[in-house]
Symmetry: C2
Subunit: 172 residues, 2 copies
């Protein structure tokens, strides 16, 4: 089964971000706005059971932190994905690093850049237009984060949540 | 903010149910297949914080159980919703009852019928066709349930998970 680990911002922030991604992100219907902490990985039931214990420890070792978003950026020329840059504070790097060590499969292809995707899989012409218009927007978002979610993908590509991990609140 | 409480069956069961609901359920893109334990209710941040403590107690007081599905039924003539009937075992009723008592808002309009919706908001002609064809299918699903999820609704009507509650595993 294919799993991933993400942070969902709070509803007001998700609603604002959805207003940007609605027209330009073909994954709009597959998963709400999110920061990916660990990209999709395969795990069987036994492995995921072990990883859930690890995730509880990680959550208990993490304090709530503030997530700040204030820039539109792009991964071009690697891909033409357009994203909201999330201020890369230590807590986010620590979370992502912890999920690449110990029992976790090491599946990080690029260096970790915390972000929220708002447009992807655009044609080259669309990309230029959309990046031009999105990068002129004044986007200032701030959010308190106190949890992350383990998600899995259904056959129709929709991601659904298996378990939430609340910082300092997990019974191990 | 609008919340609900649901059980998501496991991926294989969700995938099979999605194959039925894909064409007939306009909520297909809004939430994966689920059993609703508590219908949508409004709660502010302070209330939901209190209810989460209650939900942890409820989860800790519940043992994992088996969910069985083997009949296609309809709520007609009240609505033309078509659903998979979930065997109404005591555990499901206890969960739904607990979420209507104590600090929880009492928002149950009809008596609790555990079910998974596969078709709704059909025209009368569609309804007859679809009910005829779905009710001839031999659907036998069995699933082990060990958790429920508190979900909330975004402005685009998509439901996303706030927190999971695993039976016997919550720190209160």
């Amino acid at each position: 089964m294919k799993y991933g680990i993400v942070i969902f911002p709070s509803k007001p922030v998700q609603d604002e971000i959805n207003s940007y991604r609605m027209r330009y992100d073909p994954h709009y219907d597959l998963i709400p706005p999110h920061v990916t902490l660990k990209e999709a990985f395969e795990a069987d039931d036994e492995t995921i059971y072990e990883l859930i214990t690890e995730l509880k420890h990680i959550a208990n070792d993490t304090d709530p932190f503030t997530l700040n978003v204030n820039k539109v950026r792009t991964f071009a020329p690697v891909t033409n994905t357009i994203y909201l840059k999330v201020e890369p504070i230590q807590e986010l790097h620590d979370l992502a690093d912890a999920m690449q060590s110990g029992k976790f499969p090491k599946n990080q292809t690029y260096s970790f850049v915390p972000h929220i995707t708002i447009a992807q899989k655009l044609s080259q012409d669309e990309y230029s237009d959309v990046y031009g218009s999105l990068s002129m927007k004044d986007i200032q978002l701030e959010d308190k984060i106190d949890r992350f979610h383990l998600v899995y993908q259904l056959d129709n590509e929709v991601w659904t949540v298996y378990e939430s991990f609340v910082f300092g609140k997990e019974l191990v």
